[in-house]
């Protein structure tokens, strides 16, 4: 056997403008092993892998394959070295069939015809137990089918260094287990496998070694069998932390939103929300847990008036008058005109919550610009508000007139949450508000949410980290495939219990 490692990185550095995404990163992967790359969101895992697969070009550093220095200028170079990457955002052409996507970029010698390719796809599928129709168009496929296509694509090319970027984020536990067993088989075939993740239990159950990145810097690589969850966490976040969120007992809770059997269909007619019912109360934080893409976004958008519903009721009870309003089929503007003070921190911060090219003050205006009868904008108050938020939430920015897209992720989020809270809402919805944020910023957001709760606001928190959900929320609603699979008390519930509910996708149909 070759004594050199399959892949070795030395002092890789990559900058985007003034942001250093990777700094002096070293990494080694051997054949016949699974290496996990562990790190928080924004720690530079994906950027690093993109340099191996030729999407980005490093500013500095060296890459060695089998002990020989190589230059990877493009994905084509990466293929040459038998490197295959499965991106988190699938690289598939929607209007092409699976087989067409799989042969994309291959020459005739690699795969003569689509028909022959389809045949080989069937063979690979049989070998690993995939269930895929090579003639099916991508835009008709589900997320996990698309991922399968991506995996087959890499196998088809005979890659022997495989990189998977957060492959389990969109999978059910069963699908995850299946994927893992496929990966183990490939490892035993002598392939080198790199898997990017921030889920500790996956790291522990799957990988042979773990490399940890923190804020773009390489921390260390350890053998999985010789480490444990606590040590990995410490390496990942820097200092030893126990999640210690200040959670107060809910006081004077009162029903604020009563959701009744709402249903929502996608354009293709797939049920995105299936008879969802629950109640959100003022003075408590209601957590929403579920695998990504189970209807969380549609649910929040439906309440905010951005998603058309087939049927059901969204009843809002005004805390002052006690009057009930049905918000279904109302536009965001109509909802506001009813006096409903609803704030919404969407998942897509720069694409929905804020305008990236506008400065902080102008982004403050988004919510308030309509005020007053004048046809001209009032610029003073938004500017004052911007300055207040910058000061109180410690936003790091050159000034109020800096376009928000130039701020770092955490600061962007502070601007957004700050604005949404400033309108003293009665309902506050936040979707993945700490995604990509460092620990300090995350805690600032938790505290802001808690303060809102203490002020009697009904807070709805969509999260992905179950530990956070359990420590921050009062109740947790679990959603699976658009259906409510359970509502639990966050103080007594166990993580495993929620995990089980999250995956209860097909049981309820009967």
């Amino acid at each position: 056997m070759n004594s050199y490692p399959a892949l070795e990185l030395k002092k890789i550095t990559k900058r985007f403008g003034s942001i250093v995404a990777n700094k002096d990163v070293d990494l080694t992967v051997r054949r016949g092993e699974i290496l996990s790359i562990l790190g928080e969101n924004g720690s530079g895992k994906t950027t690093l892998m993109n340099m191996i697969s030729g999407i980005y070009y490093p500013d500095d550093g060296q890459i060695f394959i089998d002990g020989r220095e190589v230059v990877i200028k493009s994905p084509r170079d990466a293929f040459k070295y038998k490197i295959g990457m499965i991106h988190q955002h699938f690289k598939l052409v929607d209007v092409f069939s699976a087989a067409e996507n799989i042969v994309l970029g291959l020459s005739k010698e690699d795969s003569p015809t689509i028909k022959e390719a389809s045949e080989r796809v069937r063979k690979i599928s049989e070998k690993y137990g995939f269930d895929i129709d090579p003639e099916k168009k991508i835009y008709r496929m589900s997320v996990s089918e698309k991922q399968t296509v991506e995996i087959i694509k890499v196998l088809f090319r005979g890659a022997d260094i495989l990189i998977l970027d957060e492959p389990t984020a969109v999978l059910t536990p069963q699908e995850t287990q299946k994927l893992f067993s496929v990966l183990r088989t490939m490892r035993d075939d002598g392939k080198a496998i790199i898997i990017i993740t921030h889920k500790l239990h996956e790291v522990l159950s799957l990988s042979d070694r773990v490399a940890v990145l923190r804020k773009g810097e390489y921390i260390n690589t350890v053998v999985t069998a010789e480490t444990n969850e606590a040590e990995l966490t410490e390496m990942m976040v820097g200092k030893k932390i126990t999640l210690d969120i200040d959670r107060s007992e809910p006081k004077n809770t009162q029903d604020r939103l009563i959701i009744n059997n709402i249903n929502c269909l996608s354009r293709e007619g797939i049920k995105l929300l299936d008879n969802v019912s629950f109640t959100a109360k003022g003075g408590e934080i209601l957590g929403i847990a579920g695998i990504a893409g189970s209807g969380q976004r549609e649910l929040l958008e439906a309440i905010a008036g951005l998603q058309r519903l087939e049927s059901g009721e969204i009843n809002y009870i005004d805390p002052n008058t006690g009057k009930t309003e049905n918000l279904k089929d109302k536009t965001p503007l109509q909802i506001r005109d009813l006096g409903v003070r609803l704030s919404f921190v969407p998942e897509d911060r720069l694409g929905m919550g804020l305008v990236g090219n506008m400065d902080i003050a102008e982004n403050m205006m988004l919510r308030s610009y309509r005020k007053g009868k004048s046809m001209f904008l009032e610029r003073k108050k938004p500017k004052t508000l911007a300055e207040t938020i910058i000061e109180q939430l410690e936003v790091v920015t050159p000034g109020v007139s800096t376009p928000v897209r130039k701020l770092s992720g955490g600061n962007v989020q502070k601007v957004l949450v700050g604005r949404e809270i400033s309108s003293s809402p009665t309902v506050l919805m936040a979707a993945y508000p700490v995604r990509g944020l460092d620990i300090n910023s995350s805690y600032m957001i938790y505290n802001l949410l808690n303060r809102q709760k203490e002020n009697g606001v009904a807070v709805i928190f969509v999260g992905e980290d179950l530990d956070v959900l359990l420590e921050l929320c009062d109740r947790i609603l679990v959603i699976g495939a658009g259906r409510v699979t359970g509502i639990v008390d966050a103080r007594t519930a166990k993580k495993e219990e929620i995990g089980l509910l999250m995956t209860k996708t097909d049981g309820g149909a009967a």
Binding site: F16, G17, S18, Y57, D59, D60, Q62, I65, R68, E69, V70, V71, K73, K80, Y81, A304, G305, L306, T331, P332, L333, I335, R336, F344, P346, D348, G351, M352, G353, L354, V355, G356, N357, M358, E362, M365, L366, R367, Y369, R370, M375, F376, L377, K406
Partner: protein
């Protein structure tokens, strides 16, 4: 296994997005681009005519500023081009690619001419002009609202739709020219109301173009204020940047699209009015003369800032005038103006790359070997 053994070679350079660049530096790049373009243009003219380049520039300058009459005509041309550029701007800021200004201007021309011909003799002048204003604005707006309506409701591609609307307008104008033909068989409508001058804009201080220039100057300031300080202007900017955000904060995106397109078309209608009632006093399919397309350049070059458009429209008109003077003076074909304009545009368009991106030369780092 074939070429994996080749020695590690680094590419010479790679391209990265620039974080940001100070204002003065980006304008320096643009000015340098224009200077480079002028040199290339001069080289081409010299090649074609064997003249020395200084002479070429002098005659260009003469073409634009050579006499009082030329200066007025320069200003008049700037006014019209600027007016159309102002018109396309709100739509472009909203990322509504209105390349139908040509047709919208013609629609305005047609409405104006129709008023002058059909009711020119029946009404007192102020009333007639008021009706002309309303008609031209309505016609221009209608021509742009039709594609906007489909864009707003079904996301119909507006670039292609507005483009097609140009030709529908041209044929409509041809149709009415054959109806209003004067004299019969000439395939043109001649000077409208030659004797009564009904519907003609009056001369101010003896200058027949002054009124056009004043109107456009006022419009420029108004448009600047509208885009920068009004709530509508803010909505346009938000919809242009991200429709999702606009919807999220409760803007009625459809309404904003249609309203803005209507404004855009209305201003084109005004340009048509200025062309027929204030300048030509006649109408042909060539009245807009491709300015609907040129205006897109003017607006884009000025980064959609109405005040900067004064300079960019000046630049383009100056070039055209200068080039046609060269053509005349040295007995060249007039189309040389289009060639030179094209070259200068290429340079200005291309130079934006150096504002937005930087080229990083890779340094060697293999001392160890």
């Amino acid at each position: 296994m074939s070429k994996a053994s080749e020695k590690a070679k680094e590419p010479l350079f790679h391209i990265a997005k620039r974080p940001s660049m100070p204002m003065w530096k980006s304008w320096l790049i643009r000015i340098a681009a224009i200077a480079a373009a002028l040199i290339v243009c001069a080289a081409i003219v010299v090649m074609l005519t064997d003249l020395n380049p200084i002479e070429v520039y002098v005659s260009m300058f003469n073409g634009a500023f050579g006499s009082k009459r030329k200066i007025w005509s320069l200003l008049q041309n700037i006014a019209i081009l600027l007016c159309i550029s102002l018109a396309v701007t709100p739509a472009f800021k909203m990322r509504f690619w209105n390349i139908g200004a040509e047709g919208q201007v013609l629609a305005g021309c047609l409405a104006t001419a129709a008023c002058m011909i059909l009711i020119g003799d029946k009404l007192p002048s102020p009333v007639l002009i008021l009706i002309m204003v309303i008609a031209s604005i309505a016609a221009g707006a209608l021509w742009s609202v039709i594609p906007a309506f489909f864009k707003a409701n079904w996301n119909t591609n507006e670039t292609l739709f507005t483009l097609m609307m140009n030709y529908v307008a041209i044929q409509l104008v041809s149709f009415f020219i054959t109806i209003w033909e004067n004299p019969k068989g000439s395939a043109s409508i001649g000077i409208i109301n030659m004797n009564s001058q009904a519907g003609w804009f009056p001369s101010l201080f003896g200058q027949k173009y002054l009124i056009n220039i004043i109107i456009v100057a006022v419009l420029t300031v108004l448009m600047y204020i509208y885009l920068k300080y009004s709530k509508h202007g803010y909505e346009i900017a938000v919809v242009g940047e991200s429709e999702n955000t606009a919807r999220y904060v409760g803007m009625n995106v459809k309404k904003v699209i249609i309203r803005t397109a209507a404004l855009s078309g209305a201003l084109c209608g005004v340009a048509g009015l200025l062309l027929v009632a204030g300048t030509d006093h006649t109408m042909s399919t060539e009245t807009a003369g491709g300015q609907g397309f040129t205006a897109i350049m003017v607006s884009w070059l000025a980064k959609f800032n109405p005040l900067l458009m004064i300079f960019t429209s000046f630049l383009i008109v100056f070039l055209e005038k200068g080039a046609s003077e060269i053509a005349m003076a040295f007995r060249l074909n007039e189309s040389i103006a289009d060639i030179l304009t094209g070259i200068i545009l290429f340079f200005i368009i291309g130079c934006e790359f150096f504002v937005n991106y930087q080229i990083i030369f890779n340094k060697k780092h293999k001392e160890g070997k």
